[in-house]
């Protein structure tokens, strides 16, 4: 038993270590990790080959080339990107971020690289033509954007309510479906959207004009900031800057994109067009699921066993672990581990490792609870009979109690495996490019929300079916 426990521990940490080991390589030499929001065309989005493109992407890449450094782009989403920046998980953020005094408290901005104002967009059939028409209505905005700040500053004056979403696509859809009467967003973004067939109309002139800047954490990565400024100046001088802006806001670019949209608007078209992205999303989801299941099962069994030890202290630890990690929402736990812990300790945790730790703790807590329950469901007389023969606790547990308890636990294990698979989707919040995040990114480009989510849903069901079949097969083998 003791040897097996040690083996469990060794395996557990070896698995974690394997992933942690990759971390330094990402940050080696002159490679900077840049967070962004790839659902923000024309500044950042994934094109039909699922390459990250847009004004921000071309700028940062051209600047990197000019200044001789490398960038590693992390598609985190706006909110997570800013949080990861302040916790030191990433080196910089370029995501159409407006320079504000508030943000300057914690961030250092580059010289502005773009100027944009906030406009209001409504559904094509809407009769609203000005801010006055919003009285008593609901307005959709994207979390943490300048559009949101602007909407908040005028909501009392014009008497409307605000709903916030994490992705632009959800903002626009809420307006299209009529749940919200209007949305506020950057004029460049909305202009681009309208041209590419977003299905909304812009009804106000740009106001609250703001400037976009590249950001680093205050007082850190100053070298990177200097290089960005120098590179930007060079691009402006040599005409490359104008070229990039024109490419994404001029007529030529937008018509090309809308054409590629129409090519893949059937289910199979969408599947074929996004084949590579979806496949790598599936792979990432599977990797997360498998590693999490292994780690969570080992962790859960250990904590569960701790909970049935004839030792008050051990049982207390077990109960506390289960209480904490079963009680915390998975989302909070993921953000805490990925953003909270590094800002305290100063060490970076790769998103994948943070994801595995999150799932291991959360799913492990549930596993521990039913492992403990399964063991306790075995008649107490079995333990007494084993102990009365002189078998020590560990041997009695290993030879008599666990084999019976595991049979009781198997359905719970299968259930937990499926929940783990589904819960990997929550890790899209820390920018892991698994299936859900892949879906979000594809939709940000082509706005085919219904079809893409339908595809993603079917894929999840397929994987779950496979996982269930596999588990049942294992169950049958154990029960024989």
């Amino acid at each position: 038993m003791k040897i097996r426990l040690k083996l469990f521990f060794a395996l557990f940490f070896a698995t974690l270590g394997m992933f942690a080991w990759h971390a330094p390589q990402v940050h080696a030499a002159t490679t900077y990790t840049i967070g962004t929001d790839v659902t923000f065309p024309p500044f950042v989005y994934a094109n039909s080959n699922n390459k990250y493109v847009g004004i921000d992407m071309e700028l940062i890449r051209s600047i990197a080339k000019e200044e001789g450094f490398k960038v590693n782009i992390k598609p985190l989403g706006f909110n997570a990107a800013v949080q990861s920046l302040s916790s030191g998980q990433i080196d910089g953020v370029i995501a159409g971020m407006t320079i504000t005094d508030e943000r300057k408290q914690t961030l250092n901005f580059s010289t502005p690289y773009y100027e944009s104002g906030i406009v209001m967009a409504v559904a094509p059939s809407s009769k609203i033509t000005s801010l006055k028409g919003l009285k008593g209505k609901t307005v959709a905005v994207k979390t943490g954007t300048q559009g949101a700040t602007y909407a908040n500053s005028i909501k009392d004056k014009y008497g409307f309510k605000i709903v916030t979403f994490d992705d632009s696509d959800n903002v626009y859809n809420d307006v299209k479906t009529g749940n919200s009467a209007a949305c506020f967003d950057d004029s460049a973004v909305l202009n681009y959207g309208v041209k590419t067939g977003l299905g909304l109309k812009i009804v106000t002139k740009p106001t609250d004009v703001g400037q976009y800047g590249f950001a680093v954490k205050k007082g850190q990565n100053q070298k990177l900031l200097k290089m960005f400024n120098a590179g930007l100046a060079k691009l402006k001088k040599n005409g490359k800057y104008d070229q990039i802006i024109k490419k994404y806001t001029g007529k030529a670019a937008t018509t090309k994109t809308s054409k590629s949209n129409s090519e893949g608007s059937t289910f199979f078209g969408l599947l074929r067009q996004n084949q590579k992205a979806i496949l790598s999303g599936i792979l990432e989801t599977l990797k997360l699921t498998i590693v999490s299941i292994i780690c969570a099962t080992i962790f859960g069994i250990l904590v569960g066993l701790l909970g049935v030890l004839p030792n008050k202290f051990a049982r207390g630890i077990s109960t506390t672990i289960v209480y904490i990690f079963r009680g915390l929402p998975l989302l909070v736990l993921a953000l805490f581990i990925y953003n909270g812990v590094p800002s305290l300790t100063g060490t970076k945790i790769p998103a994948f490792v943070a994801g595995i730790i999150t799932l291991t703790l959360n799913e492990g807590a549930y596993t521990a609870a039913f492992v403990k329950g399964g063991i306790e469901a075995v008649d107490i007389g079995q333990m007494e009979a084993a102990r009365s023969l002189g078998l020590p606790f560990g041997k009695a547990m290993g030879k008599v109690i666990l084999p019976q308890g595991i049979k009781i636990m198997i359905p719970s294990f299968i259930n937990q495996f499926i929940i783990t698979l589904k819960d990997t989707s929550i890790l899209s919040i820390i920018g892991i490019l698994e299936l859900t995040q892949t879906g979000k990114i594809i939709i940000a480009r082509n706005l085919e929300g219904f079809k893409v989510w339908a595809i993603i849903a079917v894929i999840y069901l397929l994987i779950i079916t496979l996982l269930t079949l596999l588990s049942k097969w294992v169950e049958r083998r154990i029960n024989d």
Binding site: R387, L389, P392, K399, V400
Partner: protein
């Protein structure tokens, strides 16, 4: 003193506020068969379970073969190897076959090789009349068969003393005889035994001594004929009247 197998002095056991054993003195000599009787809830099982520390005494001393069982420093697993126990509800290991039930402890504790343990298991199963059940699952046995396997399992560790807690009360009447038969055989071979039972026939025939407990104290003890035929205490009389008239 040297001949005492069990030496219990001033044993007290409480479950919370419930004071169950109230200063018990209880001795068993080598090769002695002691039958423990008493009304339900009087503490018979608790006393028996204190003898191999399935229950921790609240105070007092329990010695088996001179080993201080009540001392937490004593290696209780080693001590238990010499104390066989048979339960009312058999408690056969449901995940193992009959043979494996009997072999588990000697093999796991390094007493016998697998082959020797198997040979011993077959021999013990023959003694209890179940040689043909070696490969059976416990679930397929009748209650009486289960209890005889449980006895064989306890004997596999070659104990010096056997504790029985109402070994026949969960059995259909026609099964009782087979189990008692095995126990009598054991007694005749000189096994030291402490038996909690309502089988007065067995007590009269086999017991060297009968101990009557009530309400957490030993009320009366003596030779079976003395206790059964000429009980001195009123409570003993009342109890025996009830049991024998049933």
């Amino acid at each position: 003193m040297a001949n005492l197998k069990v030496d219990v002095t001033d044993l007290n056991k409480s479950f919370g506020d419930n004071h169950v054993l109230k200063g018990i003195d209880f001795k068993v000599a080598n090769n002695e068969v002691v039958v423990l009787i008493g009304p339900s809830g009087s503490g018979k099982s608790t006393l028996l379970r204190c003898l191999n520390r399935l229950e921790n005494p609240t105070s007092g001393k329990v010695s088996i073969d001179g080993k201080d069982i009540s001392n937490t420093k004593t290696n209780i697993d080693q001590a238990r190897e010499n104390i066989g126990m048979v339960f009312q509800h058999f408690n056969l290991f449901n995940n193992l076959t009959v043979g494996q039930n009997v072999e588990l402890a000697p093999v796991e504790l390094g007493k016998l090789s697998k082959e020797d343990a198997a040979a011993q298991a077959k021999k013990l199963l023959t003694t209890v009349g179940l040689e043909d059940k070696y490969s059976a699952k416990p679930q397929s046995l009748s209650g009486g068969q289960k209890q005889r396997v449980a006895i064989a399992r306890a004997l596999a560790m070659n104990p010096d003393i056997m504790l029985f807690d109402e070994p026949t009360s969960a059995l259909d009447p026609e099964m009782v005889g087979d189990v008692l038969e095995v126990m009598k055989k054991l007694a005749k071979e000189g096994m030291t035994m402490v038996v909690v039972t309502h089988e007065m026939g067995f007590a009269k025939e086999m017991a060297d001594r009968v101990v009557f407990m009530a309400d957490g104290v030993v009320v009366e003890e003596g030779k079976p004929e003395a206790v059964f035929d000429h009980p001195k205490n009123e409570r003993t009389k009342a109890f025996l009247d009830k049991v024998i008239n049933v």
